[in-house]
């Protein structure tokens, strides 16, 4: 489904900014691929490059269509990236969510008792666990018909308790069952074992092994 060939940092970027690749791999429909490696190994850089948030070169195709032929805005709706620390730009939760009914549905699945009330919560008072789950609902709901096809998740449950973590994993499993592909960065071997079929290991911006 998602095919990556020789993805790397472009030559014309000032050197020393980041080191990445060349990296090649593929993820199939309904597959969860884990991405492991120590902090600073380049996992987030790889996800950023895949979603085209940093300049990069190499071939990335989704369902056989090269990324270069897809406008960036459309690409990011098909390949959705969820950073470890989600960003916010306005004061309240609701200001950040274009599709409220869709997001509320997901928030309910993620253990929020009153999702409509969540919309009026100020961002500054959210715990990091709440931020993670709300960001997930925001991203998964923003393109309801046909939802993102590939999810790039950077430690999606790092700030969650066991119960919330199970709810997030169940949600991700439902997306996998519906045919989405997931690239999951996780430092939790048990979670990797529960969700992923294969895993990639990164060191110094390069893939060093698959399992």
């Amino acid at each position: 489904m998602l095919q990556v060939e020789n993805l790397q940092r472009p030559d014309d970027l000032p050197s020393g900014q980041y080191v990445l690749g060349p990296i090649s791999f593929r993820i199939e429909r309904g597959e969860c691929l884990a991405l492991t490696g120590t902090s600073g190994a380049g996992k987030s850089l790889l996800l950023r490059a895949l979603v085209d948030l940093d300049p990069n070169r190499g071939e990335v195709t989704l369902g056989g269509v090269p990324r270069a032929e897809v406008p960036a805005i459309t690409w990011r709706r098909r390949v959705a990236y969820f950073p470890a620390e989600p960003g916010w730009w306005l004061d309240h939760v609701g200001d950040h969510i274009p599709d409220r009914p869709g997001a509320c549905e997901i928030l309910a699945q993620l253990g929020f008792a009153d999702p409509d009330d969540v919309m009026s919560w100020p961002i500054s008072r959210l715990s990091s666990g709440e931020r993670q789950r709300i960001a997930l609902a925001r991203g998964l709901s923003c393109d309801m018909p046909g939802a993102p096809k590939v999810l790039l998740l950077d430690e999606p449950t790092s700030a969650l308790d066991t119960d919330s973590c199970a709810l997030v994993e169940a949600l991700l499993q439902r997306h996998l069952d519906k045919g989405a592909a997931i690239l999951l960065v996780s430092h939790d071997p048990a979670q990797v074992a529960r969700l992923a079929q294969r895993s990639l290991h990164m060191v110094g911006g390069k893939l060093v092994g698959t399992a």
Binding site: P86, G87, W89
Partner: protein
């Protein structure tokens, strides 16, 4: 209307007497151990030398009344102002962009508005008469410069601070213009503020310099006030045009056609 009453000519001796005040300041600095006396005297000397020099240049310019010479002086003024804009930014666009955006938008805004004033309300003969064109251009430039440098400084500072929020919007499928909107709006507001403040406070909190100068030179207050109002309108127009174009071009340069935030283009 009161007729022009003429003005009191100043001699260099008069200036020397006033300069005693600076010497007095320097003495105070020495007495209180502020360590400012050297800088104060140097600054005063530099100011006097620069202005006397400009006086000679202006005199020569007024005597020749040449279009090309006037344009050249205006260009040099804009180039210096561009450097000033660059110096007032903590983070700036790398390469020539940092200087180019400030200098070109200011030159453009200053030129458009000055030409407008020369062809509309003032109509000197010839139209480029440096006696009108240069002081007008200088005052417009100085104010547009403040606005542009504040606007750009606010943009480049904020874009770094708000990076996560901007990228979150891009990730949700926003275009670069949508994602940069909040930051650009705040930069524009910062750039416009001094101009709005000076219009709001003019005449109440302070008497604008040009009007005061004209009154001292013997112009009837009613006429001096009209000139000042005209000038404030021109400044508002030029600042608006300059800040808007400088901020928007910078937003364009800080992002790319794949709708990415390019902080690597800042330094």
């Amino acid at each position: 209307m009161t007729p022009m009453t003429g003005y009191i000519e100043l001699s260099y001796l008069d200036l020397a007497i006033a300069a005693l005040l600076v010497v007095l300041n320097a003495g105070l600095s020495l007495a209180f151990g502020l360590g400012l006396e050297r800088r104060m005297l140097l600054a005063a000397l530099r100011m006097a030398a620069q202005l006397l020099l400009v006086g000679f240049v202006l005199q020569a310019l007024f005597d020749t009344v040449s279009l090309w010479l006037t344009a050249l002086v205006a260009l040099i003024m804009a180039l210096f102002a561009g450097r000033e804009i660059l110096a007032r930014q903590e983070r700036r666009l790398a390469g020539w962009w940092g200087y180019g955006i400030g200098a070109s938008t200011m030159l453009l805004a200053g030129m458009v508005v000055t030409l407008l004033a020369l062809s509309g309300p003032l109509r000197p003969d010839p139209w480029f008469d440096p006696r009108y064109a240069i002081p007008l251009f200088g005052m417009i430039l100085g104010n547009a410069m403040t606005g542009i440098s504040l606007g750009l400084d606010s943009l480049t500072t904020m874009v770094g601070r708000e990076r996560a929020g901007i990228e979150a919007q891009l990730l949700l499928g926003a275009s670069r213009w949508q994602a940069m909107r909040t930051v650009a709006q705040r930069a524009l507001r910062t750039g416009f503020t001094p101009m709005l403040n000076s219009m709001a406070a003019a005449g109440v909190v302070f008497l604008p310099g040009m009007m005061t100068g004209q009154i001292l030179a013997g112009v009837a207050p009613e006429q001096a006030v009209k000139y000042q109002i005209l000038l404030l309108f021109l400044i508002a127009g030029a600042t608006g045009l300059g800040v808007l174009s400088a901020v928007m071009i910078s937003v364009w340069r800080l992002t790319d056609d794949r709708h990415r935030l390019r902080l690597d283009r800042l330094r």
